[in-house]
């Protein structure tokens, strides 16, 4: 498999990358290359140039600053999966990152590339939406911070505009007892999500649920919140029965026309069984509250 010809530039800083993008409007950013290079090799994309941001070290970090965990766009999936901070404070993200592809993909692929590419079968968009992430974008359209619901616009489309660079992703932290989890039905070949369910729960001292966030990915063009499930959980004690009955409302979140299907798993099937993964994510998240 041979990519078409392109020019290659390596950026030493975010500013330099922004300048290169401004100079070459047909160019694409290259991070870990694990979505872009396959597209090039299959000749499904033919950018005039690649601007490699892969060595800008300042974009590669996980830090906690005043109520937010700030994750640099170039942080790899394996760094997410092994971060103690994420494992304890944003468990679902570390868990999902650890389920991506295989070790080679996790060692090269980045969180920024993953969400910028916005493949509907990716794991991280649903998790980040669930955790209320903010996406920090700089470049062509000025500096801004975009919430998940505005960031993921649809099938492989995001709020990242021409000349923009995603620099980091912020996840708000919660002080009270909380837990989050990600459950995934992986495609047996690609390992991408056929169905992905992310759940984050907050409980009060009595173990009663005060806040629930549930999102679905994999089977929809962009992450979808299961509001009915969330509402059904608030006020319950998150026991098995409460989780099962709330999960049963998963279908309400899924507009039948929007659900994706393919040769492996039809839309109808995915829509029918999605609740099983919601239930699994909720059960783990509930077990982690405390």
């Amino acid at each position: 498999m041979f990519a078409p010809q392109f020019d290659y530039y390596r950026a030493g800083s975010v500013a330099e990358a922004a300048a290169l993008l401004a100079e070459h409007p047909e160019a694409k950013l290259l991070a870990g290359g694990h979505s872009l290079i396959p597209l090039l090799k299959l000749r499904l994309a033919a950018p005039s140039a690649l601007v490699d941001i892969g060595r800008i070290d300042s974009l590669r970090s996980i830090r906690e600053e005043s109520g937010t965990i700030e994750i640099g766009a170039l942080t790899t999936h394996s760094e997410l999966a092994s971060s103690e901070l994420l494992r304890s404070r944003a468990t679902a993200l570390a868990e999902a990152a650890g389920m991506i592809g295989d070790p080679a993909v996790r060692n090269r692929g980045t969180i920024g590339g993953n969400v910028a590419h916005a493949d509907p079968a990716s794991d991280l968009p649903a998790v980040l939406a669930c955790l209320g992430a903010e996406f920090r974008v700089t470049g062509g359209n000025g500096d801004r911070s975009v919430g998940a619901s505005d960031f993921f616009e649809g099938l492989m489309s995001t709020a990242i505009g021409e000349g923009d660079i995603l620099t980091s992703i912020g996840i708000p932290t919660v002080d009270s007892a909380c837990g989050s989890a990600y459950a995934k039905f992986a495609h047996p070949a690609s390992r991408y999500a056929v169905i992905g369910a992310a759940a984050a729960l907050v409980v009060d001292e009595d173990g009663s649920c005060t806040c629930a966030s549930v999102t679905l990915g994999g089977l929809v063009p962009a992450p979808v919140r299961a509001t009915a499930v969330e509402e059904a959980l608030v006020g319950t004690r998150l026991d098995a029965a409460a989780i099962a009955s709330a999960s049963g409302l998963t279908g309400d979140a899924l507009d039948a026309d929007d659900v994706l299907g393919d040769v492996y798993a039809s839309a109808e099937y995915r829509r029918s069984v999605a609740q099983v993964w919601v239930q699994r994510a909720l059960s783990s998240a509930a077990a982690r509250c405390g």
Partner: protein, 785 residues
């Protein structure tokens, strides 16, 4: 025999170079002035080519030549089909290496670009302008047989490549009419994509001054490539050297000689420089042969106590758009003749229709015909057990061919060599703890959990085979093997074989055979294969025949050496040949083992020849051509335990236990490895793999993102056991083991899943058993209730 020789699990000597990346594959070979070819392939499954404009491609940077079908006309013949199945109305469509006026599958070659680099060649492909007139496509074999189906080849009526039948034993109609019970099933043996780790490649180097060609090729059978290449491109066989360097797996997909190989040779011949072609993985999926693709309508007749009285089947076998080199023999000879399985079945009848479809040609794929046969028989036996409410193990026992050690005839006309099928099943049930597993199943069902046990008791035909039979069944070649054993003055040994191992480990096991026969250390033996210029003629590595046939040739060559060495030893020890004894590499006079000559002493003397017996030639070397008197028939019994999540339909394979009998094991670790790999490939068919075309003939599973090959995380530890029943006719008693696992495992896993679903009323699910398919079957069964 010392511990490190025959029968010992020494490490594979192939592995260090494979693991450290220092092996040399076709693509690693770089020749001065070498150019690179890329094939333009039809993006449509069925289309008339109305015009091709190559002018822009010819002008592209680095491009040296662009050829279309018009340029190869009269220069290279069609890619040959070399298994001319008799009494079947075989109709072979011309497989033009470059499509002449019609493309018949996505991947059919339309033009070739030769350029200075592969990138330039691929870039230029985009510049070739082809006008296609779309034609209707047909992809399903049974539909292809139907009236009104789109026709692929004007000269071939009804898309039918052949209609082959096997009939044996008593009257089949009567067997079914008078039977107390009949069970029926329709099975789709889906299309599979072989996925060898190394894709196909060819490097052709033609010297115009001498008219000689060297071809490096990813092949399982270099001597066959030489033979067919010579016929197709017109280079005499004596000027043609074919080398299979390291070959990264084949599983049958590297038996055929392909259009792209002929084209690469054509390009080198035309341009007078070396030309390399390496397929991309996408091309590998599109154009390297696929396997299976049967629709099988099958039925079994039995008495009320479960004794089988007849088996009848009709099979529609998709052959793809053209007949690949060995394709017609796979769904027929290697399939239909095995329908008795391990059972005593008094009447058998099968019709097999081979059909052209607008898909990639199919070929042998690990097991080749036998997994399709085993699956049919093992499925029917389970259906019979369910119908009569008898345990599947018990139904098998009631029908097993009793133990035999020197020949048993089945009604399809084969003579099995040796077997103890009940012995294998008994060992399996014991190792697996079958009775307890059944109790656990009952308990699990009470808790609403769906656990299933699946059995597969199989026998397979391999070690292909007597050449006389090859001739009778239309195989356009012999099926013997050859070996040269050459002792050097220092006592080290070279073995040259005609077969062509490509991952199976015969460089190790063949050294062990020599060690066992002649008492040298395996470390002192190097096995040479894969180069037609320095190995004797041989028919290749497929059909689990390398050890079963080539290993026999080698053992017999070693015994010739031993006989000659004995004569020389007698001379040196001044004794009569009749008084000589041989043990573990030493020759001595009966009763005085202390004064002996080692095989190395003899090798030195034979090579310097200072003091040879009267009339004995110098040198210590022997050649054997071994044509086996019969096939060999390995067998065994496998068990799978699965759990099905009824809510989602997902299947978890919890346990897999195998008992296989391939006779004496030269190297038990290699046997275990072959069994593991084989089982996993068969599980792949049951649970994950399927090459899917849409109705227009577009391959929907064209990349590894879509086509699911097995991964370690979906598999339990495989428990491997064996019994040992020597083949009566093989000099070492050994049978093949390369395909056995695949032949057994698909049915074992499938039967386990159906067993698990039995309380839910499901008796059939189309393979692969994806969660959705299982879930839908459960839904459908519940609606029926």
């Amino acid at each position: 025999m010392s511990a490190s020789t025959f029968g010992s699990g020494i490490r594979r000597r192939e592995d260090p170079r494979l693991i450290t990346g220092t092996a040399t594959y076709t693509d690693d070979i770089v020749l001065p002035g070498m150019l690179h070819a890329a094939m333009l392939r039809s993006p449509f499954a069925h289309a008339r080519i109305t015009s091709i404009d190559t002018s822009a491609a010819a002008e592209a940077p680095g491009v040296v030549a662009v050829y279309t079908g018009a340029d190869t006309e009269g220069e290279i013949g069609p890619a040959p089909c070399a298994w001319l199945l008799p009494d079947s109305g075989l109709s072979i469509a011309d497989y033009h290496c470059i499509a002449k006026d019609t493309a018949r599958y996505v991947g059919d070659i339309v033009a070739v670009v030769v350029a200075e680099s592969p990138h330039q060649a691929y870039d230029a492909l985009d510049l070739i302008d082809v006008d296609y007139d779309m034609l209707d496509a047909i992809v399903e074999p049974k539909e292809s047989a139907a009236e009104g189906a789109p026709q692929l080849h004007a000269e071939i009526e009804g898309n039918q490549a052949f209609h082959w039948t096997v009939t044996g034993g008593g009257d089949i109609g009567e067997a079914f009419e008078s039977a107390a019970v009949v069970v029926k099933e329709t099975i789709v043996q889906q299309r599979l994509i072989p996925n060898a780790m190394e894709p196909r490649a060819a490097l052709a180097s033609y010297t115009q001054a001498t008219g000689e060609l060297t071809l490096w090729n990813t092949t399982q059978n270099p001597h066959i490539v030489r033979f067919l290449m010579s016929l197709v491109v017109g280079i005499p066989e004596d000027r043609l050297r074919v080398i299979a360097p390291e070959v990264g797996g084949g599983f049958g997909s590297k038996i055929a000689v392909y259009p792209a190989d002929f084209i690469t040779v054509f390009c080198s011949k035309k341009l007078g420089v070396p030309v390399k072609w390496v397929e991309t993985r996408s091309e590998n999926y599109q154009a390297t042969t696929h396997g299976r693709d049967h629709v099988q309508e099958i039925e079994l007749a039995a008495t009320s106590d479960g004794k089988i009285v007849g088996l009848r089947a009709t099979v529609w076998a998709g052959m793809g758009a053209y007949l690949s080199t060995a394709a017609p023999g796979i769904p027929t000879i290697l399939h239909g003749l095995m329908l008795s399985g391990v059972y005593d079945i008094p009447a058998i009848h099968e019709d097999v229709y081979g059909l052209y479809t607008n898909t990639t040609p199919v070929e042998a794929y690990r097991g080749a015909g036998r997994p399709e046969a085993t699956f049919m028989v093992e499925r029917l036996v389970d259906l019979l057990a369910a119908k009569l409410d008898i345990d599947p193990a018990e139904v098998r026992r009631r029908n097993f061919i009793p133990k035999f050690d020197n020949g048993h005839d089945v009604v399809t006309g084969l003579t099995y060599d040796s077997g103890d099928y009940d012995g294998a099943l008994t060992k399996l049930l014991d190792k697996a703890g079958y009775d307890q597993l059944r109790e656990e199943q009952v308990e699990a069902r009470k808790q609403g959990r769906y656990i299933g046990l699946g059995l597969s008791t199989y026998v397979e035909i391999c070690g292909l085979g007597p050449s006389q039979v090859a001739g009778a069944i239309g195989f356009q070649g012999g099926l013997w093997e050859s070996a040269i054993v050459r002792f050097h003055p220092s006592g080290k040994v070279n073995v040259m074989i005609g077969a062509s191992p490509h991952g199976q480990g015969e460089e190790t096991t063949f050294a062990q055979i020599i060690a066992g026969e002649l008492g040298v250390s395996p470390d002192d033996v190097k096995v040479i294969h894969g180069d037609t210029d320095n190995t004797p003629m041989g028919w290749g590595t497929y059909g689990s025949r390398t050890t079963a046939v080539g290993g026999a040739a080698l053992a017999l060559a070693a015994r010739k050496i031993r006989d000659k060495a004995k004569v020389i030893a007698a001379h040196l020890l001044e004794a009569a040949v009749e008084d000589m004894e041989y043990e573990d590499g030493k020759f001595f006079v009966k009763g005085s083992p202390d004064s002996s000559k080692t095989i190395q002493d003899i090798a030195l003397m034979a090579n310097v020849a200072w003091n040879m017996p009267e009339g004995v030639e110098a040198g210590l070397e022997a050649t054997t051509f071994y044509d086996p008197p019969n096939f060999v028939f390995p067998y065994g019994a496998h068990l799978a335990r699965v759990e099905v999540d009824a809510e989602t339909g997902s299947v978890t394979l919890q346990r897999y236990v195998a008992v296989d009998d391939c006779g004496p094991q030269i190297n038990p670790v290699i046997v275990e490895g072959q069994v593991h790999g084989g089982i996993v490939q068969g599980i792949g068919q049951a649970l994950w793999e399927e090459g899917v075309y849409d109705e227009d003939g577009q391959l929907l599973t064209g990349t590894m993102l879509d086509y699911a090959i097995p991964r370690a995380d979906g598999l339990p530890d495989i428990e491997v056991h064996s019994t040992v029943t020597p083949s009566p006719h093989h000099p070492l008693g050994v049978k093949g083991i390369g395909e056995a696992g695949t032949i057994a495992s698909t049915a074992a896993v499938y039967n386990a899943v159906i067993d698990a679903l039995q309380p839910l009323g499901v008796s059939s699910v189309r393979m692969p058993l994806t969660p959705e398919r299982v879930w839908r079957s459960i839904q459908a069964a519940q609606e029926d209730n």
